[in-house]
Amino acid sequence: MKYILLIYSKESDWTGLSDEDKVDMYQKYTAFTDSIKKSGHYLGGDGLEPTATATTVRVRNGKPVTTDGPFAETREQLGGYYMIDAKDLDEAAEIATRVPGASYGAVEVRPVMRM
């Protein structure tokens, strides 16, 4: 089954890091990505620029309405995702626990709709 792992954390946790800690975090993500590529679970994934760069678009009465900022102001923000292939929820959740962000933020595991 295909799952998406949505990584949520406080952006301030990231921006507050020293350069050294940022390098350390990059290395952790690189190591994790490599490990799930090697095990054949990796389908894709990216980190996202902070919510300050976000634009939200809605269409109302046929007209596009564009606003500044993320879709919702939340305490923790979506900061990145992985798309993985796992045999079931247990395997997907086990992989999610190894996402570096799970140790300070949270990782939401969602099955991808089968069309």
Binding site: M1, K87, D88, L89, D90, A93, E94, V109, P111
Partner: protein
């Protein structure tokens, strides 16, 4: 052997096997039902087959294949049909992948699916009782005092989450087993407690909840004999259940521990509970269910209330509090201290909990304070505490009990 007997004794097991074979709760339930209908038609004329359970499983599997063949999406499903058709008759579970499923019982796999932490706790309870306990939706709804439609909806949602999120049907891997077993045991204990806090009106169904919780815990103990925590939980349930006849009077009123007729206690359950407690403590150490079972065992051993070894009970609660602190444990500790060292001492501890506001909405805190205040002759304060407890209580039996105690203050 009658069909009715096979249904009652084996339907849980049959359903568990069918869910594994067809990979879908609803389809498994439907085809099991079809197979029993077929048995009603066939067995009276042709005799009961040698292995009735295998007959039902095999008939149900064919019904499932028939249903899928009729399905318009037959082509997509042809792979699945091939898989089921290839499954052996009678049915030893297939070879276990990389040794991760150490116990190959379908009911055990199913209990881990039903109590999966990705499901809401209410859904875990409902699903466990419906699929493994064999209770009807109506019975579960009545036992939990929710409308039947609400409960049915809860089951539907849980089953679709299992399907859509890919919640697996297997015993978790070794490194996750302890954590996942904890969640299974927590669900079984919740079921037991819901049954144990019985209200008169729904008494029969509630007692059935206790019986089901004990039966399912026994099953976990049998299937995973090396896990001491399930043994300890079984002990705890048996020791509480042993007092069921004595804790409600013939008039349907709640009876305090000290006023219970101990000749009504079930000595068989007490003996089994004590033996299980001892072996769980010996092999698994002082873990929460084992400590609680040990406390219940000390009550079970006391022939009269005056014989209760309160000193030992205080020590056990202190152990429980140090290792697994919780305000409810602290409350019980205080009540035990009141018996061992006098009401003043107990009251001092209860007041400390009260001041922290930890159990502000829990009726048993003011109820315990009221009782000790009454013993100390501080009637006015006791009455105030009983009124506070009455404003928080939700169970009718307990409400009447508190009202009686308040009235008895004079």
């Amino acid at each position: 052997m009658s069909i009715d007997h096979v249904y009652r004794a084996d339907s849980g097991r049959i359903l568990a096997t069918l869910i594994r074979l067809v990979g879908d709760f609803d389809l498994a339930e439907e085809v099991m039902h079809d197979a029993f209908v077929a048995a009603l038609e066939r067995w009276p004329g042709h005799g009961v087959p040698e292995n009735p359970r295998a007959w039902i499983v095999s008939t149900a599997r064919h019904k499932a294949i028939d249903r899928l063949r009729r399905d318009s999406r037959f082509r997509e499903k042809s792979e699945e049909i091939a898989r089921w058709a290839a499954a052996e008759e009678g049915e030893a579970p297939e070879a276990l992948p990389d040794g991760e499923n150490r116990v190959a019982d379908d009911r055990l796999r199913l209990i881990f699916t039903c109590c999966h932490p990705a499901l809401a706790v209410e859904a875990q309870i409902a699903l466990t009782l419906r699929t493994l306990g064999g209770l009807t939706t109506e019975e579960i709804a009545r036992a939990f005092l929710v409308p039947e439609a609400t409960l049915a909806q809860r089951l539907v949602r849980a089953k679709s989450k299992i399907r859509q999120a890919g919640i697996p049907y297997r015993v978790p891997s070794d490194e996750r087993l302890s954590e996942r077993l904890d969640s299974v045991l927590a669900v079984l204990y919740l079921i037991f407690n819901e049954g144990y806090a019985a209200t008169k009106g729904a008494e029969l169904v509630r007692r059935e909840l206790c019986a089901e919780a004990i039966r399912l815990t026994r099953l976990v103990v049998e299937l995973m004999p090396e896990r001491t925590e399930s043994r300890a939980l079984l002990a705890l349930m048996l020791l509480h259940d042993s007092r069921r006849e004595a804790r409600v009077s013939p008039e349907g009123e709640l009876v305090r521990l000290e006023a219970q007729d101990r000749s009504l206690w079930d000595q068989g359950e007490i003996r089994e509970g004590i033996a299980l407690t001892e072996s769980a403590l010996r092999e698994g150490g002082a873990r929460p269910y084992a400590l609680q079972a040990a406390i219940a065992a000390l009550h079970g051993e006391a022939a009269r209330f005056e014989d209760t070894d309160w000193r030992q009970i205080v020590l056990l609660y202190r152990e429980l509090m140090t290792r697994y602190p919780s305000p409810v444990v602290e409350l019980n500790y205080a009540a035990a201290v009141a018996e061992a060292s006098g009401p003043e001492e107990g009251l001092r501890l209860l007041d400390a909990i009260d001041e922290r506001g930890d159990l502000a909405t829990y009726h048993l805190l003011p109820a315990a304070r009221a009782e000790l205040l009454a013993r100390l002759g501080r009637k006015q304060e006791a009455a105030g505490a009983y009124r506070r407890a009455l404003s928080l209580v939700s169970n009718d039996l307990e409400r009447r009990f508190l009202e009686r105690e308040l009235g008895a203050l004079g």
